[in-house]
């Protein structure tokens, strides 16, 4: 890499850090970052400590340790063969559009640009190796370093090998067909010869070692040892030597030298390649941008595949503008009419009920259906805000369109919550549908299949299925919807508070350690916010339960609607408060640095 390219890489890296640091001038980002850093540190230290204490438990038995590098070697040989067989002939180097447009027309030798692309990839490779090294735990410093080195070398080797094969295949497409056929034929011959020889020698070793006795673990180990000592071991040695440092064995430093030589050979192979990469790199940059846009827009599917003549519902030309925002956001997830979606939801329990009855209401089926349904009803609401994103999180990208709309901030925020809330309702209703199907099947076939199926229905020991389905699970559905709404409202408020962090970028999902840390932090903050929001309902329900216990009144499922109400009312009040807060924030939001002029 020449000086100018090094300068470009360095300045790009520095600029990225500076941009992030500038964001920290704002107290909310600063405080949030402090929390994130503290948590990350805590996580790393805890990980190191836990692995330290379980080091002896976690270390491999000597028999396994002896064979493990050969297993890794076999896997690497297989990987290399698969790469040669299936890798694309489009060497899509990871260059941004700007890099492509600046560097390709510049008077730079091809070798330098390839070197730049390879070295640029090293940021991700080194970060990945560090993460793996931390996850793999502690040990003596020397062992930790050797594992880190081995992981880095392996990742770099993967990267270089893939690039090399891509460029080699691209070259094949450029040279005359007979020459290309000759080269491809030579490669196929080498690979086929390698695998034929390996499999044949393995088969011979296995036959010799088995000797007609029963095949147990010890016999298998014996076969493996014999294979390593024979031809299969010799064939796999170059691959196994890559695996040994991963297990902390550097063979007195010789394997470090081997890995470095292997890396250098790959590096030169890539740099001396002659296959064209420019078009593929540009295509990749475009594709990446489009994918990001689709993800950001909540679409995910190419526009051509959408059912463009359908709409969730007929939007009346007059009325509250909130409905238009709701309609628009529903379109982001699917253009299927709401009525169709409701019909599918209604048909689901009917179909499942029919199927369960046809199969004779097996107890396991009733248990599975109601178990899955119950899990959906209980667990899903808290996380709806994290994965249903057709709201402000995607709309903030279109801020220049949205902001001039004549609608008060809080009304806009409220309207933005409606589409994900509707989707949450659909998900929870499908969970309820499963429980309903199971409950009805158990009730209907009570006489025929006996009480066995009903016993598999959760809660059947404390109440009848009708009371359970209406007062129990019905209440759970209603309370769950309120919690889902709170979860969505928290995420939208967080988007308005920290817009630079919450995926409003035109490039879609961000990568890198910082983005991962931010996502982790947002997830934790989400759970904390949700827990805070549920304190009041928990206190109210706790008070009721305490009073019942104090006066000796037994808890019955018939109280479900009351308890649900104790969740719904405070949670809705909190959602209203969050909407108001979000609206006030929207009205005052200065998006200049965080949204409008953001590069990433």
């Amino acid at each position: 890499m020449n000086g100018a390219l090094f300068e470009l890489a360095w300045r790009t890296f520095r600029g990225r850090i500076v941009r992030r640091l500038r964001l920290l001038r704002q107290p909310r980002y600063f405080i949030a970052s402090l929390f994130g850093a503290a948590y990350s540190l805590f996580f790393i230290v805890r990980q190191l400590r836990s692995w330290q204490s379980f080091r002896h438990l976690g270390s491999l038995p000597p028999q396994v340790k002896e064979l493990a590098p050969w297993g890794v070697g076999l896997a690497l040989a297989l990987f290399a063969t698969l790469v040669w067989a299936f890798a694309s002939a489009k060497p899509a180097l990871r260059l941004s559009e700007a890099e492509i447009h600046f560097l390709l027309p510049a008077p730079l030798p091809r070798r330098k640009i390839l070197a730049y692309a390879v070295w640029k990839q090293q940021v991700g490779v080194v970060a990945g190796a560090l993460v793996v090294a931390v996850l793999r735990g502690a040990g003596p410093p020397g062992q930790r370093l050797s594992r880190l080195f081995a992981t880095w070398a392996l990742f770099t080797l993967f990267d270089l090998h893939l690039k090399g094969v891509n460029l080699w295949k691209a070259r094949l497409a450029e040279i005359p067909a007979p020459a290309a056929r000759r080269r491809a034929g030579a490669m196929v011959t080498v690979a086929a010869a390698f695998w034929a020889l390996l499999l044949w020698s393995l088969w011979r070793t296995a036959r010799a070692a088995a000797g007609g006795s029963t095949v147990d673990l010890e016999a298998l180990r014996g076969m493996a040892v014999a294979a390593i000592a024979g031809l299969p071991g010799k064939l796999l040695s170059p691959f196994a030597w890559i695996g040994r440092p991963l297990l902390g064995d550097l063979a007195g430093g010789w394997l470090v030298l081997y890995l470095l030589l292997l890396l250098y050979a790959h590096y030169e192979w890539v740099l001396r390649s002659r296959g064209r990469f420019e078009e593929a790199a540009l295509e990749r940059a475009h594709r990446q941008l489009e994918r990001g846009r689709r993800r950001g827009g909540g679409g995910g599917r190419p526009a051509a595949l959408r059912s463009r003549h359908r709409e969730p519902f007929a939007l009346p030309p007059r009325g509250r503008p909130e409905l238009a925002i709701f309609w628009k956001n529903l379109n982001q997830s699917s253009r299927l009419p709401l009525a169709w979606r409701a019909a599918v939801l209604a048909a689901l329990p009917a179909v499942l009920l029919g199927a369960t009855l046809l199969l004779g209401t097996p107890r396991a089926m009733v248990g599975a259906l109601s178990g899955i349904g119950l899990t959906v009803l209980v667990l899903l609401p808290a996380f709806c805000g994290l994965f249903l994103r057709n709201d402000l999180r995607t709309d903030l990208r279109e801020l220049e369109t949205l902001r001039p709309w004549p609608i008060a901030g809080w009304r806009l925020v409220a309207a933005e919550l409606l589409a994900p809330a509707t989707m949450a309702l659909a998900l929870l209703a499908s969970g309820y549908g499963l429980v309903l199907a199971a409950g009805l099947a158990a009730t209907i076939s009570r006489k025929a299949a006996g009480a066995a199926a009903l016993r598999a229905f959760p809660g059947s020991r404390v109440a009848g299925p009708f009371a359970l389905l209406t007062c129990g699970y019905g209440s759970l559905l209603a309370a769950g919807l309120a919690v889902a709404l709170l979860s969505i409202a928290i995420q939208n408020l967080a988007t308005l508070m920290l817009p630079a962090w919450l995926g409003t970028s035109p490039q879609g999902g961000r990568r890198g350690a910082a983005a991962t840390g931010q996502r982790l932090l947002v997830f934790l903050a989400h759970l904390l916010g949700l827990a805070g929001g549920l304190v009041v309902p928990a206190l109210l329900i706790g008070a009721i339960l305490l009073a019942q216990w104090r006066w000796g009144i037994a808890l019955t499922v018939l109280e479900g609607p009351l308890l649900a109400l104790l969740v719904i009312l405070p949670v809705l009040a909190e959602v209203a408060l969050l909407v108001r807060l979000g609206g006030a924030r929207w009205d005052r939001l200065d998006p200049s640095r965080e949204v409008l002029d953001r590069e990433e």
């Binding site: 003549h309 503008p321 379109n331 279109e398 001039p404």
Partner: protein, 255 residues
Amino acid sequence: MMPPVPAIEIRDLVKTYDGSVAVDGLSLQAESGEIVGLVGPNGAGKTTTLRCLAGILPPTSGRIAIAGHDLEAEPVEARRHLAFVPDEPRLFESLTVADHLKVVARIYGVEDGAERGRELLSRFELADREHSFPAELSRGMKQKLMIAAALLHRPAALVLDEPLTGLDPGAIRRMKRTLLEQAAAGTAVLVSSHLLGLVQEICGRVVIVQRGRKVLSGTLEEIRAALPDLSADADLEEIFLRATEGPGMEVPRGG
């Protein structure tokens, strides 16, 4: 009798970013039926001014009013009378051309939204594209859709930031005609552009800004009169270069 309320009024607008001043005490106004051109070199603060006017960026200080409604005190009412077309077409990826107009009609409460939408699509040659998604449109078509959506609610003030970028010559001509028609119908149009020929051709008044401040403003004749060393038939390009690069040009604080 009360004087007519200007459709667009910006008074002493200041906008700073992290201590750097993008707009520095800018004042301008546009009356109903008037087309005002906002020109200036790159980084002069044109886009920031227009974004503040559209309510996208909150001003650091100063007052903005649309059709007599203060943007800070009555934001919803002010925005109801405004339409903004940004320099880059900002469309919703999952809405078709017709969907965009449907949503905008509903947001602005346009009574005859469907008919007007059809008429605008036909005027901007997008009638056969009404079921297309933004990904299937060229940049020029997206720009036309943005403008059609902006005109849908018959705004009292139409603000356009570089509206002709990406349009073909035919579309540029039609766009000029549309702006003139809008002005004739009583809309105040504020247009920012680097195409000085266009600005000279369609704008009744011109405001030249530099480093966030107003350097000159008025009709072409008034500006020529303010710069006596210019020839009597100097065009806007000459005036612009003289105002922004010429020697001894004083930049009056607050215009």
